[in-house]
Symmetry: C2
């Protein structure tokens, strides 16, 4: 940054005192019109600006809330941010967003940035890599209210706004069964991710409740577009290939659909597909993709509302866990019967 012009510089240039300059800038009645004009003119010319930090120190409020988010390009997280922003801007707060890009190291830098920018509160969803939480504890211990959303670590007193992943996955698999699938496979996220564990649990429970066997070969860890092709080919080469596939997210589901189409296997007639997220992809594919709507916008609204309440009432004490309802969006990829 260029070296800032100060009140002293202006005073020196005009041969008057700093306090006169200061009062002139504030349009103080004791200062003559001529002096005010001269000061204002020079201040403009030199690009003088009041020291924003000094001002904010004085006001002691930044009116800014910080958000740490794993990935912006993700439709779900973008929706969450829209919800956060609508609540925050309406309440007179700015929103500053930092993207960890799923990297632990960046998340630490993000956390420090929120602190040094003196945000009034933080909304955080942790990266896939994050296993240690000292940087987040640092925020909490600074007395800045934190609300976690979607991906929340254990062991914090903060509020959490999440979905019931197990229940959502359970409902998704039940729908596949009800639409006529007899052999349902699951492309899962790694076990290290809570969503991976919970969605797998929901899958298993739905099978159990319908007296369908759990077959290990039907579960493959594959949670990206790139991983989906190999997993799909592997599944379809089984002696008894699946007639329904539930994927841990939509992009994986799109990959499955593309691979099946290349193999000449029709969707949903031969194999039905159910995604998770109801992102922007789901109504663009042919056939359109059935999925679980996680209601990102509502999650953002809820998280921001809770945070602003904490900030404004200065309420401390143990946080709560809030669940955002999910629902199935049934499109063409599961219409079997």
């Amino acid at each position: 940054m260029n070296s800032q012009v100060t009140i002293k510089d202006i005073a020196k240039a005009l041969g008057i005192s700093a306090s006169t300059v200061s009062r002139a800038l504030k349009d103080h009645p004791d200062i003559s019109r001529d002096t005010k004009d001269a000061v204002n003119e020079l201040a403009k010319k030199l690009h003088y600006k009041p020291n924003a930090v000094a001002l904010s120190l004085k006001n002691s409020k930044t009116n800014t809330i910080g958000v740490i988010i794993p990935e912006l390009v993700h439709y779900f997280f973008s929706s969450v941010i829209s919800g956060i922003e609508d609540v925050a801007y309406d309440a007179g707060y700015n929103v500053m967003i930092c993207q960890s890009n799923e990297k632990y190291e960046r998340e630490i830098i993000n956390a420090q940035a929120l602190l040094s920018n003196r945000v009034e509160g933080a909304l955080i969803s942790i990266s896939k890599q994050t296993k240690d939480f000292a940087h987040l504890q640092m925020i909490e211990e600074s007395g800045i209210p934190v609300v976690f959303f979607d991906r929340a670590p254990d062991g914090f007193d903060s509020d959490r706004v999440i979905i019931d992943d197990k229940k959502a996955a359970y409902n998704a698999v039940c729908h596949l069964i009800e639409s006529g699938c007899h052999r349902i496979a699951h492309l899962a996220a790694p076990d290290s991710l809570a969503i991976g564990r919970y969605r797998l649990e929901g899958y298993k429970e739905a099978l159990k409740d319908h007296d369908m066997p759990y077959i290990e070969d039907y579960v493959i860890v594959a949670d990206s577009f790139d991983l989906s092709a190999i997993a799909t080919r592997k599944l379809m080469q089984l002696p008894s290939p699946p007639d329904g596939i539930f994927t841990v997210n939509d992009l994986t589901a799109v990959g499955v659909m593309k691979t099946l189409q290349k193999m000449g296997i029709t969707v949903p007639e031969k194999v039905a597909i159910m995604g998770f997220s109801a992102g922007s992809y789901s109504d663009i594919t042919t056939p359109t993709l059935s999925s679980v709507d996680q209601h990102g916008y509502e999650m953002g609204v809820k998280a921001a509302t809770i945070l602003l309440k904490r900030i404004e009432t200065q309420r401390t004490g143990r946080g709560e866990t809030f669940y955002i309802d999910t629902n199935l969006v049934i499109r063409e990829s599961t219409k079997k019967i």
Copy 2:
């Protein structure tokens, strides 16, 4: 925010002087181990944190660059941000992102937030609504370097990183002609947007260079998924309907494709489609979508690199305009011949 615990509070509680507390916290050799332990223990208990603002005032650098972006959910802008972040984090800068959500009022708040957070530089792409630029001039006049990207206003001294929209559109339409289209329509953005004007110009020039007539009925303002359906039906009801459609962005192209498929018109056999942006949609549709790759990541890298150079060399003076190359991505929706 909770009232912050100060050094004085700790000093009072322990019955020692503030300067002793301060030195104890800094692990000063003059202070005894016992005192240090007592101070540190109480500081931890009371959640004492050094005043971040005071610290940053002292350092006088925030090491933060601010970004104002119209829309996060947009694949192109997300790619730009990834490019910005990769450059910034490598150079030891934080990135704070503000989303205007295509709203002029929010863009003003965003600009003020960047100022009051004392960013060292700003990267800005203006909203569709923005016609007045006082809030951006305010940043420039504060001596904070600004680089505009993609959507840059006229009349600023700042650097600009943009694409050559006219040339990109020209190439896209030439490809439709070369792949066998004889009657090419264009779904355009409103004339008030520079991209709307330039891409239309490129369309017109490509027709002219191939001795094809410009037909007014073939150009309809429709730049969203929602608007595409009506526009497509209108085009296909013309006495001589088009056999190629160039859209101002990918989402509109996807809408055209879906509408044609509903009407039983095959793509690309009957009508070829060319989008613009090569976003995440373009390889997910069936058929996959030909488009113009704007290289968002490279744009972000370039913009951030220029900005950091301005910050670190304190270079002032007239900005330059940098063009990011575009290229055609030919997929299935234009394979006619």
